[in-house]
């Protein structure tokens, strides 16, 4: 479980995060949603430690990140997997080598054990074996996301962060990626935090949703609660499209 308590973050005069508190539960897909510029990416990067917060606490199962030294942060990060918006696969390595990379860096596995583990992860994300030797630039965007997920889970992380996992993907592939993240979260009991503004994803896998509005936490609930909220900003955001207005009407 990750708990953030009263975190504040400013960039010079711009106060981006204002006293944000939230709980991200283990074994659940926790989603941070909000309009562009609302501060959700800053929130996620602050939780990971890529941004240093001005005040507040970020507790990874009771361990407060802002109190940690760089060495301790590095050790903590070995428990973290991350899926980046653009996949962030290493260009110079093949698909298989990308997944093996964290194992080579931090595990004491022998080479055959590393290959076995990498194969296990790649099979888990349903990637065909013929793609294993290819470079990231030779596979599709959806496949790249799957490789990135396989790399993120290679070291059996306790925490998984996904930054806009569906950006640039078609609706069908988006659904596959969403379900994959959801399955992995439940299967390995990971604390997963997804940063998204894709409402299809929210409705599909949002078990714990945090809505950020102008840097403040404006609402927290699940995908079923979202239909019965009278928060104007949240309703404007969620039911912006005609499709979701119809879904809401049906639910009510």
């Amino acid at each position: 479980m990750i708990e953030v308590k009263n975190i504040n973050k400013s960039f010079e005069e711009n106060h981006v995060l204002k006293n944000v508190s939230a709980i991200f539960e283990a074994g659940k897909t926790n989603m941070i949603i909000g309009q562009s510029g609302s501060g959700k990416t800053v929130l996620m990067k602050s939780i990971i430690g890529l941004h240093r917060i001005d005040s507040g606490r970020i507790e990874y199962d009771g361990r407060n990140l802002p109190d940690m030294k760089m060495k301790e942060i590095r050790l903590l990060r070995r428990e973290v997997g991350m899926l980046f918006q653009g996949s962030a696969l290493f260009d110079s390595l093949s698909v298989l080598e990308n997944v093996m990379y964290p194992l080579e860096m931090f595990s004491d596995f022998s080479k055959p054990e590393m290959i076995d583990r990498a194969y296990f992860c790649l099979k888990h994300v349903n990637l065909e074996e013929k793609a294993y030797g290819l470079a990231p630039s030779e596979i599709s965007g959806g496949m790249q996301k799957r490789v990135a997920i396989a790399r993120a889970i290679a070291l059996q992380p306790k925490y998984l962060f996904c930054d806009e996992p569906n950006s640039g993907l078609d609706p069908r592939t988006s659904l596959v990626i969403d379900q994959l993240i959801h399955e992995i979260t439940q299967e390995f009991d990971i604390t997963t935090i997804i940063n998204s503004h894709d409402m299809n994803s929210v409705m599909e896998i949002g078990e714990n949703i945090i809505f950020i509005e102008k840097g403040e936490m404006a609402w927290q609930g699940n995908k079923d609660d979202i239909f019965h909220v009278d928060n104007e900003a949240l309703n404007d955001f969620v039911f912006a499209s005609e499709l979701f207005k119809k879904v809401k009407a049906t639910n009510q």
Partner: protein, 246 residues
């Protein structure tokens, strides 16, 4: 203020670079690749430029020293000393600052803007050490070989002028390049080139590592790496020359 801040950032980055690698085997896997990419792949340009400059220098020296009072071997002697003292170390490093510097800055800069460096950091890897240390060490190791190679090929270029034209005889040229040879000049040249190799690779890595934005910014980082690397080479050239030859 910006210069001071950048200097501080550069030294802080170097502090992160020069620590023991997280995994020695990963460093030793990367190191030969960098030797090949930064060193061996620079050989063709070193050969082409050195052979032509050696030849041109011989012709120009001969034309500018047409004086019966000067000994006939002086053309070979001047060509040799110019190659040894300045061309093969400083000028060659300025050329390599363009080739290698832009290569390092654009590679690391692209990794930065495509979040590959963030991915390394999230995994708990010291990205500065993992990415930059093999490049700096490989280039520093390779540079003396490139310089010695450039000296040899440059001298061959001058010999070819004697062999294929009537500007100078090969006998005069060969006598000139052996006359009053001072081995210390080679040592001085190698010391300079090692310092320049460090400047080129570390400055380029610095600009690439702190690239921010998109493709345009990577291009800007690459340009800054080449321009500032070249200026620093000239500055250190003056400093080292004053220390070692004055």
């Amino acid at each position: 203020m910006g210069l001071l801040s950048d200097t501080g950032k550069y030294f802080l980055l170097m502090k992160r670079v020069f620590v023991l690698p997280d995994r020695g085997r990963m460093f030793f896997r990367q190191f030969p690749k960098e030797l090949e990419k930064l060193g061996l792949e620079s050989l063709p340009i070193v050969i082409i430029i050195s052979v032509f400059i050696g030849a041109i220098m011989t012709i120009q020296t001969k034309l500018n020293t047409e004086n019966p009072l000067l000994p006939t071997y002086s053309t070979g002697l001047v060509t040799r000393d110019t190659l040894l003292l300045e061309f093969s170390s400083t000028i060659m490093c300025l050329i390599l600052a363009g080739k290698v510097g832009s290569n390092i800055a654009s590679e690391i800069g692209t990794m930065r803007i495509t979040e590959q460096i963030d991915a390394l950091e999230i995994m708990g890897v010291n990205s500065a050490n993992y990415l930059i240390l093999p490049k700096i060490t490989a280039f520093v190791v390779m540079m003396p070989f490139l310089v010695i190679f450039s000296m040899a090929v440059g001298l061959i270029g001058g010999y070819l002028v004697g062999a294929f034209t009537d500007v100078i005889t090969t006998a005069d040229y060969l006598l000139g390049i052996q006359y009053a040879f001072i081995p210390y000049y080679v040592f001085y040249s190698i010391v300079k080139s090692v310092a320049f190799a460090f400047v080129i690779s570390s400055v380029a890595a610095f600009y690439g590592y702190y690239a921010y934005g998109g493709a345009l910014d990577v291009g800007k980082a690459s340009t800054n790496a080449v321009v500032n690397g070249s200026i620093l080479i000239l500055f250190f050239n003056l400093l080292i020359t004053n220390l070692m030859l004055n």
